[in-house]
């Protein structure tokens, strides 16, 4: 019997576009001596005390399932951390859920609140998974492209214009991947007023909250009236250099978190126990390492942005995350072409900005989470590349 190939895959999955950086990944992996500024993760290895705590948990036999929502002591520690660091209090037993990375948390959040046909506003450029997740849940993704002249911050007018009667929620990511944009309390307040007026929910991806270089991060849920309508998503990957551990968490209103838990317990059961034990140590004793890493990112941010400016690349100073997002518009090529030629000619890997959605066109994302020596070499090569194109 023959199988009709077209009907094997769901329409939902067929609607999703393949990842825009896959092609670059394949291209770069065939080349040698590539300097990569394309990596969206810290260049630090997880601090040893965290690794050691995880190893010790296995030695002591903690290899079983944990509570679906995560180890109670980890949820308590997350609550203490959110209170102490960002001044928002959450009930560890009702309002916090430990997930397999922030990625799972994003998926659970959308699946818990979106019905087919409902609209979700995605503020772009942003992390690549938002739009596919909305689409998989049957939702309709409405994008807003933030602008360079606004330093890639969302304005209340832009938000207002994107809202329709079908809008359910807004997805925000500040500090932002890929632009490094941050928003102040006052700027967030203006956004919150629009949210309140239209009675919307907010999914606030605050995974880069610890990596800010000018001002401390202001949590969206800390704004008056926002806690009850905001799902805060965060995790250990960026702050504690734990990307491969796949551990994130959600803090949000009790009804939404328990809905998310419902999906999580069927789809995932629980986050890996050894990762949870590591995370516990990171929260209890990780502050010093975190500050050391932030100081190092800040220095490298200063270095790369000044160097880009020196070689004539127009680049705003990112307030957070670990990405510089220079414009390449003046080189008469779109970002994809620029990135591809740069990779082929000078062996420097960067990510074209349009991969991250509207507003990213004409820009490239350069991760400065790499060694200073590599940054230096990359800048020399980029200068070589751009000077031949002016």
């Amino acid at each position: 019997m023959t199988v009709k190939q077209t009907s094997r895959l769901s329409q939902a999955v067929q609607r999703i576009k393949p990842s825009g950086i896959r092609r670059f990944f394949d291209l770069a992996s065939t080349m040698e001596d590539v300097i990569s500024l394309g990596v969206g993760e810290p260049d630090f290895v997880t601090p040893w005390n965290v690794r050691e705590a995880s190893i010790a948990s296995m030695e002591r036999g903690y290899t079983a399932y944990t509570a679906n929502a995560g180890l109670p002591e980890l949820r308590e520690e997350i609550a203490r951390y959110m209170e102490g660091r960002f001044h928002v209090s959450y009930d560890p037993m009702e309002e916090i859920l430990v997930t397999v990375g922030a990625s799972e948390a994003l998926d659970l959040a959308i699946r818990s609140i979106v019905d087919p046909g409902e609209e979700v506003i995605v503020v772009e450029p942003t992390f690549v998974s938002y739009a596919p997740i909305v689409s998989l849940a049957g939702g309709v993704c409405k994008t807003i492209g933030t602008k360079k002249e606004n330093a890639f911050k969302l304005t209340p007018e832009e938000l207002e214009n994107a809202i329709t009667s079908r809008t359910k929620a807004v997805m925000l990511c500040f500090p932002n991947n890929p632009t490094g944009a941050v928003m102040t309390k006052e700027e967030l307040r203006q956004i919150a007023d629009v949210i309140e007026r239209h009675d919307l929910l907010v999914i606030s991806d605050e995974i880069y909250a610890e990596l800010t270089y000018e001002e401390e991060h202001y949590a969206f849920s800390r704004l008056e009236g926002m806690k009850e309508r905001t799902i805060v998503i965060s995790g250990f990957s960026k702050a504690f250099a734990m990307t491969g551990w796949r551990l994130g968490y959600v803090c949000g209103p009790e009804d939404i978190v328990s809905a998310m838990l419902k999906i999580h317990q069927y789809a995932m059961m629980c986050a890996p126990s050894q990762a949870q034990h590591g995370a516990l140590e990171a929260l209890k004793n990780g502050r010093e390492d975190l500050e050391r890493m932030v100081a190092s990112y800040r220095q490298r941010r200063n270095y790369i942005v000044k160097s880009f400016t020196d070689i004539g690349l127009s680049c705003h100073m990112p307030g957070g995350a670990f990405y510089a997002f220079p414009s390449v518009e003046e080189f008469n090529s779109d970002a994809h072409e620029f990135a591809e030629q740069l990779l082929l000619e000078e062996k420097v890997a960067v990510v074209p900005g349009d991969v991250f959605g509207a507003g990213g066109e004409g820009h490239i994302r350069c991760s400065y989470a790499t060694s200073l020596e590599s940054l230096k070499l990359a800048i020399e090569r980029i200068e070589q590349f751009t000077s031949s194109r002016k």
Partner: protein, 164 residues
């Protein structure tokens, strides 16, 4: 200390060869400011030297011997341990000298070509000093980590080239 100056120190501690231009960019200062800070740190005897960490065991004919010697001494009226310490650290073969709390007083790190050379130093130079009561010599067998630098295998960059 001024936060920027402290930052310059930390950068140099990590890599003493970091050039002024790079430090200036990293710390968001002008090159002149960084130069002035370094001069002032040198004048204050805070920034003392710019040395390299070398794995001599990999250099043929240069494999030396390092020993740590625990020394008990009688402190002297008026000068405490300082005078005997000075008499010890003036020997060029002494690489480091620390006053310690605990079971002994001075910890001497000494480098020599052979064990015999170090044994001769201990018996002829160190033990014969009047305030020295006793010595215990420990030879280093292998260096795993020195001045924050791991000597054998590093952890390397295990990351994939692109990730979102």
């Amino acid at each position: 200390m001024d936060a920027k100056k402290l930052e310059v120190l930390r950068i140099l501690e990590e890599n003493a060869r970091t050039d002024i231009e790079t430090i200036a960019k990293m710390t968001d200062q002008s090159e002149e400011e960084v130069k002035a800070q370094i001069v002032s740190l040198e004048n204050e005897k805070i920034l003392l030297n710019y040395t390299a960490v070398i794995d001599w065991s990999k250099v043929s004919d240069q494999e030396g011997v390092t020993a740590m010697i625990d020394v008990k001494v009688t402190p002297q009226r008026g000068v405490g341990f300082d005078e005997v310490a000075e008499r010890i650290y003036r020997f060029p073969e002494v690489r480091a000298l620390y006053l310690m709390s605990g079971a002994y007083d001075l910890s001497v790190v000494i480098e020599g070509k052979t064990m015999a050379e170090i044994a001769r130093f201990v018996s002829e130079k160190l033990s014969t000093l009047d305030p020295v009561i006793s010595t215990t010599t420990h030879f280093q067998l292998k260096t795993y980590k020195h001045d924050g630098v791991v000597f054998e295998k590093g952890e390397g960059d295990q990351r994939i080239v692109f990730s979102p």
